[in-house]
Symmetry: C2
């Protein structure tokens, strides 16, 4: 075998270049040639490691999902002591909200993908499945906390969770458009978590 190259590493670099473009100039600015330039390689290399533009886009979407997952776990791990239900919700919702430059770029790219998926059936198949799973998971946790008496009995778990996730998404959109700062958005989420769970008992996990 001739000169061997780490294909996964090459693909990772190209995917990162793609997401950099999508986050700064939008998904419509993503072309094979732009990705090549951003990654500092030739067009042929991009073609060589991805059969299609479609494959490239799917790789970008997968990477975004992986990064989001990593952020949630990081925030959950940063919570001192065992993770309370409120801590879990704060971790998830805090991870959704863009908090630094990197997560802002990722969030922009995610929004671009989501919007594209609304009118592109090819992307819709892979891109719009995560929210439901997350909602179900959090609803279950919320219901358990409620049965334990940590939440008022008259709250509807399914509605509360759906609302919190929709709220985080709506706030994200306003943070991306710079209508609101990250801190203002985080305060709004805290305000609602306070109403649901009572005032926070421990230190807030650090942003990032």
């Amino acid at each position: 075998m001739p000169r061997q190259v780490d294909h996964d590493e090459r693909r990772r670099r190209l995917t990162e270049a793609l997401l950099r473009i999508a986050g700064t100039r939008g998904l419509q600015a993503v072309s094979m040639r732009e990705i090549a330039a951003e990654a500092g390689v030739s067009l042929r290399v991009v073609q060589y490691y991805f059969t299609n533009k479609q494959a490239l886009l799917e790789s970008g979407l997968a990477e975004l999902g992986a990064r989001m997952d990593r952020r949630v776990r990081q925030r959950a791990a940063a919570t001192a002591g065992g993770l309370s239900t409120r801590g879990l919700f704060a971790a998830v919702l805090g991870a959704i909200l863009p908090s630094d430059e990197q997560s802002r770029l990722d969030s922009l790219a995610w929004t671009a993908y989501y919007t594209a998926a609304l009118t592109d059936p090819a992307l819709a198949a892979t891109g719009l499945t995560l929210p439901n799973a997350l909602e179900d998971f959090l609803t279950e946790r919320f219901a358990i906390a409620q049965q334990a008496g940590d939440v008022d009995a008259d709250r509807d778990p399914r509605i509360e969770v759906a609302a919190l996730l929709a709220l985080a998404n709506g706030l994200t959109s306003s943070v991306l458009s710079r209508q609101r700062s990250h801190e203002a958005a985080a305060a709004i989420i805290d305000y609602h978590l306070d109403r649901l769970f009572g005032p926070a008992s421990t230190l807030r996990p650090p942003p990032g």
Copy 2:
């Protein structure tokens, strides 16, 4: 002067064609030729009545704003008797949520514009100004209702209004992706209005 044509009417038809494409196939599918085909005219006609593609896109954005405004007023007018604070909020939030096929298409187009504006400074200038004005207006109304004793004194008007608007936006996004039905989203909004203002006192205005 030779054969005279109603320019405003022509421009309106072309703008409608543009929004039809943006709502069904996305903003990236909008080209001068596609608009011409959708409107049943030649490419030259599109060029004749709009100097630029830019001008065409701005016209689409303006039309979307006008339609949204019309929907809010319609819902407000449909409310029996004088408009209560809750009625106002229900009208505005209900108008944001896509409720029929037409408002769904408009909402999709709006989302496409909003996403594009996040990375396109030309669109950002005209497109991202409405939300703030609406938020200020509703916050004022909310504060007045609170001083009149119609809302609990410990609610923060600015936060509550910002959260309601973000909630409506987030729910809209979930309705567009068919993660949730319009009815489910409307129920979530009602649930929160009930918590804020107490249970609804009058009939809910009809959808549409």
